[in-house]
Symmetry: C2
Subunit: 366 residues, 2 copies
């Protein structure tokens, strides 16, 4: 088992990474000194896989968990679901010392985290991410929120979890497409912060795809470490933290344009990262050879790297980008890379280059 500490003063917490952690949920929550009442928020897909284990572990440790199930998928990450969850919390009489466990992927974590951030103006919460994407990214750092129509995460908060449990066993129940989508964020950490991790991924990809435990634990822990380091230096995204959005400005816009469900988040940001790599090559002397290495790694991971867009879709995509939270003075700012392992934030890029970058890569059959 590996432990990554996220140093945020009185909001510090630890991320536990390893197999067999879900059965320890109750004991680890007990160590935090929280109230007895709690709620496990999960979705219909995760419910049959892991909810019983989570509830059992909590009950064994003397907690009184309510189970709240939301529909699976991005459309449920919305204010009406927040309202439904809060109504259930009120029925279950959750108090300020009570806590919420987010059991599931990024959608569950973001929504349950926002519920925890706002219910009674904030109650503690615990993340139990069950997807690779959530383990290496969304469960760490305290960004929580919901979508507003097509605009992703437009309503949200910063609310740090008290504990993150990444049980690697849960990844065995993940559909292969979801696992590969998670690799898009893993590869991102190599590009923006750690060339050595990138080379390791080039070498160990087959072991990762085979869920080889030691490789998986080391890679997930390294990603959490990188994210924790960035978050510790910029908790509320006033600067540095933006580098975590490499590939995301285009990726989010692509998700909004294509309609939720056409792409998994990881797939959209794979395309976004390849486009961002091209933009980096054209505007920052990023090596074209490394653009090709990035593209090749995404392809080996089974992720899309290009997209075909009709002219109307191109305009929709540019419009969606302008709705991005990172917009300032009406212009989207991009995170690019100076070289493998070194991000450059706050880069202005003209619209026509963005479209050119997206169209440079041949569309991936989808």
């Amino acid at each position: 088992m590996r432990v990554v500490h996220v140093p945020l003063g009185e909001r510090s917490y630890s991320i536990w990474i390893g197999p067999g952690l879900l059965p320890q949920l109750g004991a680890r929550c007990a160590a935090l000194g929280l109230g007895r009442r709690c709620a496990v928020i999960t979705d219909r897909r995760v419910l049959p896989l892991h909810a019983r284990n989570a509830l059992h572990s909590l009950q064994q440790s003397g907690f009184e968990p309510a189970l709240i199930t939301m529909p699976a998928g991005e459309p449920a990450k919305c204010l009406p679901t927040v309202q439904a969850c809060c109504n259930r919390l009120a029925q279950h009489r959750l108090e300020r010392q009570s806590f919420i466990v987010a059991l599931g992927g990024g959608v569950v974590g973001d929504l349950a985290g926002f519920v925890a951030a706002t219910y009674l103006r904030g109650v503690p919460f615990v993340q139990v991410p069950t997807t690779l994407l959530a383990q290496v990214d969304s469960s760490v750092g305290g960004k929580v929120g919901v979508n507003l129509g097509a605009a992703k995460n437009l309503v949200g908060a910063f609310h740090q979890p008290r504990l993150v449990l990444c049980d690697l066993d849960t990844l065995r129940t993940l559909p292969p497409r979801e696992f590969r989508a998670g690799l898009a964020e893993v590869i991102k950490y190599g590009i923006i912060a750690d060339a050595r991790l990138f080379r390791r991924l080039e070498r160990d990809l087959p072991r990762l795809l085979a869920l080889q435990p030691a490789t998986l634990a080391a890679v997930v822990a390294r990603c959490c470490e990188i994210k924790a380091g960035v978050v510790a230096r910029d908790e509320t995204e006033t600067g540095l933290r933006a580098i975590l959005n490499f590939g995301h400005t285009i990726g989010h816009a692509l998700e909004a344009t294509a309609g939720y469900g056409a792409y998994l988040h990881g797939e959209a940001i794979a395309i976004g990262q390849v486009a961002a790599a091209w933009l980096s090559a054209w505007t920052l002397d990023f090596s074209v050879a490394d653009v090709r290495r990035i593209t090749a790694l995404f392809e080996r991971a089974g992720l899309p790297t290009g997209v075909r867009l009709k002219p109307t879709q191109q305009q929709q995509l540019l419009a969606a980008m302008r709705l991005d939270k990172k917009v300032s003075g009406g212009t989207a700012r991009f995170v690019l890379a100076r070289q493998l392992g070194a991000a450059a934030r706050d880069q202005r890029v003209p619209d026509h280059l963005v479209l050119k970058a997206l169209l440079t890569q041949p569309p991936t059959p989808h």
Copy 2:
């Protein structure tokens, strides 16, 4: 003009109190160095009274304000209204440097503040309270939120304003019943924190009811000072801040039981404060003579001090109290008073005493 400073480190701000302040809104916002785009959130009742002045002042200072109008009244303080406001903010392309102006009473301030706390995970906001209640209470301190069905403020956040402008001229457009309801919070500050203020209110009540400018300015400023002092010592209500809830546990439950609209908030907490005063007399040796002074002052202010409740309503009221955010371990904790000007928080009181306190005072015709 008076200025009260709220010292909260990097979240510090000032409250400006005086006549003729609304026309200075734009200039004072300009001094904060915020983005050009902004939104004024108001309700249908305040719209015809003050919205034009606010928009004009902002435009004069070079801002581009959008106007968002919500229905007036407590039922609109809910998540669907938050969603509607956020949709409008997205249409108007508000960015992280953009800001929101809350123009209205407590309902508008709480809702607009929650929108500001969550839109893009938080944008700056400015409070322009137009009721006495909002000027002395809800606009100061950063508590924002919405109701969840009958449970008041169950979903919310702590989000400090960047500036509060209390234009005393706006109180001249307030229905007399609303003004008197605001006096309930004013009297509360005397009871919990400042016996001298209480005596001043006993003496100057006629001048206050006549909106005599110097008296009004001095009293509003003193209330803001007391609240600012409490908030500065306990921003997120982990302890001391609870004293501001004197009369509120019962008052909120009364509002929930009677149905929104039956009582104004100030009326409900007037009844709640008289009951809390009786509880203080029975459990903490608070002087019965002072209970009578408190009751008399509320009566002179035209506020209700007692209520008639059927047995089923009594049970509903107790149930509603258990939903209060200040519940811990299943028991509501009360704020009581040891003497005039000195609050005692975290007091447990058995249900039968709560009902006895409510029924001690003859019901006020309503």
